[in-house]
Amino acid sequence: MKDKFSTTTQLGLTRRGFLQSTAVAAGAAVLGTSFAETAQAAASNVVRGYGVTTSQLKDWSIMQKSTGVSMEFTGTNNSVGVFLRDVVASQLGDDADIFVFESGTEDVLGPQGIYLKIDEKHPELTLWDRTPDEWKRSETVVDKEGVQYGVPVIGNADSFGYYPDKMDAASDGNDELSWSLMFDDEKTRGRVAYDQTWTYSIGVAALYLMGLGKIGVKDVADMTGEEAAKVVNFLIERKKAGQFRTLHTAFEEQIQLLSSGTVDVINCWEPAVRETNKSLGSDKTRYAYTKEGYFKWGHGAYIAAQAEGRGNLDNIYKVLNYYLGGEYRAIQARDRGYAGPNMDLGVQYAKENGWSAEEIENLSNTEKKVARKFAKPYTSTTTPTNSDAIEEEWQRFLNA
């Protein structure tokens, strides 16, 4: 889920828009108590979100209809560096109520007191108890000590997209394929695109080597420098052997590389395969089930510590609860193919709201797919403690 050039991260309000809205609020506060009180009353049903746009609804008014709370969401890109800088150095919590980001930031910002602990007994968090542990206790929302800092929003298990006919694989995409197609197969040599972001790419290479018994890695999500070095040595050897046609960085690139037939295999986001099939015909390409495992990721929603004093916590918890509910689940799965907690509620919502049988079927399939994939390793993090050492090793790969 790393994306530097993508215009898909430009959805929603811009940062400037966010600052303007806060400036207006700040201006209102200066204008005098009576006006400020009115403004506060008017603003009391607004929750301000800041984070990755993947979690956004295309239309937040749907949520407002269901919960009475409206959302002002400011998008950021997927760079954890940018996110941490914004949240810590720019004190974004002064304005934003909730942060939505990929797993890992809670390990850094939670213990620093920048995120609030989740009050599991909050009266507005009605769906918490029925949410399965595999989502709510996932590493994406608790820190290393197990403290609950977030509520799960969406997640998926990322693998690679491929052309089944060129891999001699079953056309229904149900075959369990090896990551060797990505790294080490004669028939895919020079026909592979590999994401050049270390956080996204190094883990799956480690999984592949572990599957072969070539290396032992204690924690794939947080490799030591030495472990990363072994993986990188292998990757450098494969790079020199011409395994990779290109190293890509952006979502649009993924679509272009796959749909143009420049490559046959690419480690990418699942929506890239969807987009490709939209142009090439359904099921022309598939998103792999793998033998060794997946880059499993999840987005969490975290409460800014400063929000505690703003008297808006009830609304914030309404939004967090909404993330766990059927409406959000069904719409996210339909529009992006991403899963999340309580998919059964999503199916229920779809049935109650007259979705077509095919759409409902797709929701169930999304749940089954994710359950099958989540049974395998590994859960990623954006903030491995050895990030400096891994990043350093990854540079060797890029420079080789």
Partner: protein
């Protein structure tokens, strides 16, 4: 009358002088605060280290040493090499073009059209422009297709993309306007009479070019070089999109370091490039002095 007005002018100037001195001093103070101090802070940051997204403020040489191990120093040198090559090739293409456009007897309307065409890229997003080249240069792309169809090659051509060649090409396309426009401006204000006089005095075309046009267009050339070299050193869209990850340049390296919040690495890389740039600028200034003092060159612009 003229003498009176001149003395009046010098009087008013001398009255202005203490004020302008204060202004100049103020400017230097501001410049020091806004430019030099941040640079010093940046440089000192390179002697710290980041572990697990937290920078520890204990002086160490580890960051600088790690630049060598990870090949990041090679990245800096590669960036410098590519940026200089692109700037040089760009100059060799842009100068004759600018000369033709300014003094080649091109009709005013054609000039206007060409200038407008040159400014269009400034209004388009760079990544959208560059990604189009991928569909032209790729092995399934237009050029490869034409080569195969015409029987010039037996199979699809795959060396047009994802290598240094492609990065050079992309950068040449991108930075052409920034090189051409300043040179065109400088050449177009050269008085035609000077060129005519040079010819009348028996100078060859080459002499006129080297001794009249080049020295007088030096401000434009310098501006073009700086406007091209600077962005070329910071290029990251072309290397990412056309280099296919095989041409790792400085900005990509910085971006990667940033993803682990490794500010010291970013600081060290930036300091290194600043140093390289400083050396380059000094070299450029020395070179420019061969054509007379820089100040004198700029003074021609005032006349």
């Amino acid at each position: 009358m003229a003498a009176v007005s001149r003395s009046a002018l010098s009087k008013s100037l001398s009255r202005l002088r203490p004020a302008s001195n204060t202004l100049v001093n103020l400017y230097f103070v501001l410049w020091f605060c806004l430019v030099i101090i941040p640079l010093l802070v940046l440089f000192s940051f390179s002697f710290f280290e980041t572990k697990s997204f937290v920078t520890t403020y204990t002086p160490t040489l580890n960051t600088w040493l790690s630049l060598l191990d990870s090949g990041r120093l090679t990245v800096s040198l590669r960036t410098l090499r590519i940026a200089l090559t692109v700037t040089l090739i760009e100059f060799l293409i842009a100068f004759p073009f600018a000369l033709w456009l300014a003094k080649g007897g091109v009709a005013k309307s054609t000039q206007a059209i060409i200038l407008a065409l040159l400014t269009i890229p400034f209004f388009l997003d760079l990544s959208s422009r560059i990604i189009i080249w991928r569909s032209i240069l790729s092995e399934n792309g237009l050029i490869s297709h034409l080569l195969v169809e015409s029987g010039l090659t037996s199979g699809p051509v795959d060396w047009l993309l994802y290598n240094e060649w492609a990065v050079h090409f992309g950068m040449l396309v991108t930075y052409f306007p920034t090189m051409v426009l300043p040179i065109y401006m400088a050449i177009s204000i050269i008085d035609d009479a000077l060129i005519q006089a040079s010819a009348d005095l028996g100078a060859s075309r080459k002499d006129t070019l080297l001794r009249i046009i080049v020295p007088l267009s030096l401000p434009g050339i310098l501006a073009g070089v700086i406007l091209t070299l600077g962005p070329a050193l910071a290029a990251w869209i072309e290397p990412s999109m056309l280099g296919g990850g095989f041409v790792n340049l400085l900005s990509n390296s910085v971006e990667s370091a940033y993803s682990a919040l490794r500010y010291p690495v970013v600081a060290a890389l930036s300091s290194f490039v600043m140093l390289m740039l400083a050396i380059l600028v000094v070299a450029l200034a020395i070179l420019a002095r061969r054509f007379g003092s820089l100040g004198a060159v700029f003074s021609t612009l005032r006349s």
